[in-house]
């Protein structure tokens, strides 16, 4: 027996000429919250749907709980209902003709649970999610936050080995989303349920996950813990999700880590690299010191965002983002310093 509950090997899925998922390989450990992050169109939802059995991959192997669910070479493709998973989609998809109670009971009934057991499970799960009052209401009588809780309750009720989440918080407003992250993580961890969690919000993934995989253009580019993925500045598309500044430069001295931005701005980068010629520089807005330093810049725009200012700066031909507590005048020339800058291939 492997320590992994889900193993995906070389999974690919095409839609016509579009390669939605290319050669995806990863394992998910029992009890792990495993997130798939990427911009829209990166293939993350398709990958999730392949695992749930809603889409049929073109190639690859999916093993769940030591049982082969899909194997393109052996012609195995277990239908979704026989995979033993639960699912919380982005829209929550509560069946509008069923009361909350019946929505939650559905998976239990389909899997042949006896009536007494179903009642017990409904009680347990509705208590855990604080929705006992809502059991006799219809979905359209619920607020967004309540609907989301019911969708999670419905997924938890059969005590599945794996829950598939497809951006389940993206339809909530900011405050509710923050709150939902906390209780969702708590309940998944308390019940030791494995979750495969698709989101485009990297901060949500950082908060919730044990491990995060970053997908781009159908390919898995990184699988890391939240701490480590934040350090992966070598993938510009990932860096963009974190809001890093990414600008074009030319490496002029590889030994000293010197790069030229535009015509005259020289910058020293600290990471060991073997990039020559055209390159990309990656640095966080918080890594820019404004008001002193050796690099000339111009303040284009200043916005107060609570506690500090967010600045748009013109550096040669580039516009970069910086944050500072110091108020400075819009339109003024200033000096800046970039405390940490990573160089990567263009």
């Amino acid at each position: 027996m492997t320590p992994y509950i889900l193993q995906v090997e070389s999974l690919s899925k095409r839609f016509g000429k579009v390669e939605a998922v290319v050669n995806a390989t990863f394992n998910v450990a029992r009890g792990e919250i495993f997130s798939i992050v990427g911009p829209s169109g990166s293939g993350k939802t398709t990958l999730l749907r392949c695992i749930g059995g809603i889409e049929t991959p073109d190639e690859g192997i999916i093993v769940f709980n030591d049982r082969v669910l899909f194997d393109s070479k052996r012609g195995i493709n277990i239908p979704p209902e026989a995979r033993g998973m639960s699912y919380v989609p982005q829209t929550w998809a509560l069946w509008p003709h069923m009361k909350v109670r019946d929505n939650i009971a559905f998976g239990l009934k389909m899997r042949g649970f006896p009536r007494e057991e179903i009642d017990v499970r409904i009680r347990e799960v509705s208590k855990a999610l604080k929705i006992e009052e809502l059991l006799d209401r219809y979905p359209w009588q619920l607020s967004g936050g309540q609907q989301q809780r019911v969708a999670v309750a419905r997924a938890l009720a059969p005590k599945p080995q794996l829950i598939l989440f497809d951006e389940p918080l993206s339809n909530l407003d900011a405050a509710l989303r923050e709150e939902a992250r906390v209780w969702l993580k708590n309940i998944l961890k308390e019940l030791n349920i494995t979750a495969l969690y698709v989101t485009h919000d990297i901060h949500e993934a950082l908060f919730l996950s044990d491990r995060i995989t970053f997908m781009y253009n159908g390919r898995i580019r990184a699988i890391e813990t939240p701490e480590n993925i934040y350090m992966r500045r070598d993938i510009p598309e990932l860096a963009q999700l974190f809001g890093y500044n990414i600008i074009k430069a030319k490496v002029v001295d590889r030994e000293k880590g010197l790069a030229l931005i535009g015509r005259e701005t020289l910058i020293t980068c600290d990471n060991p690299h073997n990039v020559e010629g055209d390159a990309l520089l990656v640095f966080a807005p918080s890594e820019i010191k404004i008001g002193y330093g050796s690099i000339k810049a111009k303040i284009l725009r200043k916005s107060f965002v609570g506690g500090y200012f967010e600045y748009s700066l013109k550096l040669e031909d580039h516009v970069i983002r910086a944050v500072s507590e110091t108020p400075l005048r819009e339109g003024a020339d200033t000096l800046i310093d970039i405390s940490r800058c990573t160089i990567t291939k263009a």
Binding site: R49, G52, G53, I54, T56, P79, P80, E81, A82, R83, G84, M85, S86, Y87, P89, Q90, T91, A93, W95, P96, H97, F106, G107, M110, R111, R154, A155, P158, L164
Partner: protein
């Protein structure tokens, strides 16, 4: 297992419409009747028919009727759709069922209704004769509902903020209508135009009643008349005429599909439905014009002809003014076994067709919308518009040959055989009806059910059926009404034991038994109207 059965049904229906079309073309170039199993390929009949002056005159008449029907139908349909859905004419929306109603009554009955009302011997003899131009206009008036439904749907799915912006930017109501609303409706107007052209070429009932007695033919009536002129082996000749007709209609259906796809891409703002939130405030004279057009339509095109039909069914003498009343025709219908059987057959066949149709169209639509195998869904989808190009009369003829050629022959003599023909021939409409209902249900509702352990059958039973309850009932009723209304399909395939009201009326035309025709028509009209009122009450909308 179930998904295979569903796909099988869909493919069978799709392929059958292809086979029916193929049979017509094969018969057109075969010197022997198809059911003789002899093949002797020749173009002689094709050349002879197409070269004859009769045929050319017929083709010309058909074009006149189709083009006039389209012009009149689309323009009036647009005006009435704007009156009901965009301009603030008070209370006019309540008359919508009366505008839609002509759809639910067979054209052959409309032919009689117009003859009894405005014909030379009618109650209000406005028309001294009938010719292709007059009949084209009448056909256009009676096909307003088809154009109306498409255009109204366009209006309702249009983002009304487009018009609001025009108003705020300085355009008056009429300019907004002319410069924003109507141009934005171009996709639905184009589709309505092509649809009405197709229906114009297919028109059988109205020309049969109003044109044939005056010595004019259109392609359908010409086809219908062939067996009485050519007793010996009329089939190749009939197939050439039918083939010409479906070549035109198939081209138009392909055009319709192409335009639909192209226009949808162009008018990207058309998306979500913003039903009925916006009415344009116009001046009183403009309101009056819209209101008068709509009311005139209802009274002149619908109420007076139908009232004349009913009046005719209780008049002992025709053309002599209203002096006496009689129930004789109705009593005759009740007295005679064959008429009674016709009423019962109509009911049974409509019942079977509605039920069988609901099941088959569900499979068909499911395959189009949901089949994971793209070639299958594309095949079903492409062929789903095929029957649209088969006029009822031609399709009935093709079905006759199909039954005669295959082991299904015994079915031909049963109610089920007739109902099956209805279902296959209506499948373009049926598939669309169910497809739109299926598309209303988010795919995720099904996905969650499947992942939570429900098989396809249980997903259909627990999720789709309860959610679509009302749509299923409405579709069933709609098909049932179509079943009562059908007159052209059974012309060739109804046998002695399965004759229905529609085909009986067509057969009676030669006999001149006008009182019985009026009484049978009145019975159908009353049944259709009752059911139409019911379907509206339940919440059916023509768009």
């Amino acid at each position: 297992m179930l998904d295979r059965l569903i796909v099988f049904i869909a493919l069978a229906v799709a392929s059958l419409s292809l086979i029916l079309t193929g049979l017509i073309y094969v018969q057109a170039v075969n010197a022997h009747p198809l059911y003789s199993y002899k093949l002797d390929v020749t173009l002689d009949v094709v050349v002879e028919v197409i070269g004859s002056p009769d045929f050319r005159a017929t083709l010309m008449n058909t074009v006149v009727v189709a083009v006039l029907q389209t012009l009149v139908g689309v323009v009036l349909g647009l005006v009435i759709a704007l009156a009901i859905h965009r301009v603030d004419v008070p209370f006019i929306g309540r008359f919508e069922p009366l505008i839609i109603m002509p759809m639910f009554i067979a054209p052959v009955i409309w032919g009689f209704a117009w003859n009894y009302s405005y014909g030379p011997s009618g109650f209000i003899p406005l028309l001294s004769e009938f010719n292709p131009f007059i009949v084209g206009v009448i056909c256009g008036l009676l096909h307003v509902p088809h154009a109306y439904a498409l255009i109204a749907s366009g209006i309702l799915s249009m983002d009304y903020t487009l018009e609001e912006v025009a108003r705020i930017h300085g355009a008056g109501p009429l300019r907004t209508l002319a410069r924003v609303t109507i141009p934005m409706l171009r996709p639905s107007i184009t589709l309505a135009t092509v649809l009405l052209l197709i229906l114009g070429f297919e028109q059988f009932g109205i020309p049969l009643v109003l044109l044939s007695p005056w010595g004019y033919d259109v392609l359908t009536t010409y086809l219908y008349g062939i067996p009485s002129t050519y007793f010996m082996n009329p089939y190749p000749r009939m197939a050439v005429v039918a083939g010409t007709l479906i070549t035109i209609t198939i081209s138009l259906v392909i055009l319709q599909r192409y335009l639909a796809l192209r226009e949808i891409k162009r008018f990207v703002t058309i998306g979500e439905r913003y039903r009925g939130y916006f009415k344009m405030s116009v001046s009183t004279p403009v309101k009056a014009v819209f209101a008068a057009t709509t009311l005139l339509y209802i009274v002149g095109v619908v109420i007076i002809p139908l009232a004349s039909l009913i009046l005719r069914s209780i008049q002992p003498l025709y053309g002599a003014g209203i002096h006496e009343f009689t129930a004789e025709y109705y009593l005759t219908i009740i007295r005679y076994e064959s008429y009674r059987a016709t009423l019962i057959n109509t009911f049974i066949v409509a019942l079977l067709a509605a039920t069988l149709g609901s099941l088959i169209y569900f499979s068909y639509a499911w395959t189009i919308v949901k089949s994971p195998r793209r070639p299958i869904s594309v095949y079903a989808d492409l062929l789903s518009s095929m029957p649209r190009a088969l006029p009822g009369l031609v399709a009935g003829l093709a079905f006759l040959w199909f039954y005669l050629l295959t082991p299904l022959r015994p079915l031909m003599y049963t109610h089920l055989g007739l109902a099956l023909a209805y279902v296959i021939i209506w499948s373009a409409l049926g598939a669309r009806l169910v497809t739109s209902s299926l598309l209303q249900i988010s795919q995720e509702l099904e996905n969650v059910a499947r992942i939570h352990g429900a098989s396809l059958a249980r997903t259909i039973i627990h999720i789709y059926v309860p959610l679509l309850k009302k749509s299923i009932l409405i579709s069933w009723l709609y098909l049932f009404i179509l079943g009562i209304r059908e007159y052209s399909i059974p012309v060739y395939i109804a046998t002695k034991n399965t004759q229905v009201i529609g085909s009986t009326i067509v057969l009676l035309i030669g006999s001149g038994d006008l009182g019985i025709i009026a009484a049978l028509s009145t019975i159908t009209v009353i049944a259709s109207l009752t059911l139409t009122a019911l379907i509206f009450k339940i919440g059916w909308k023509p768009y």
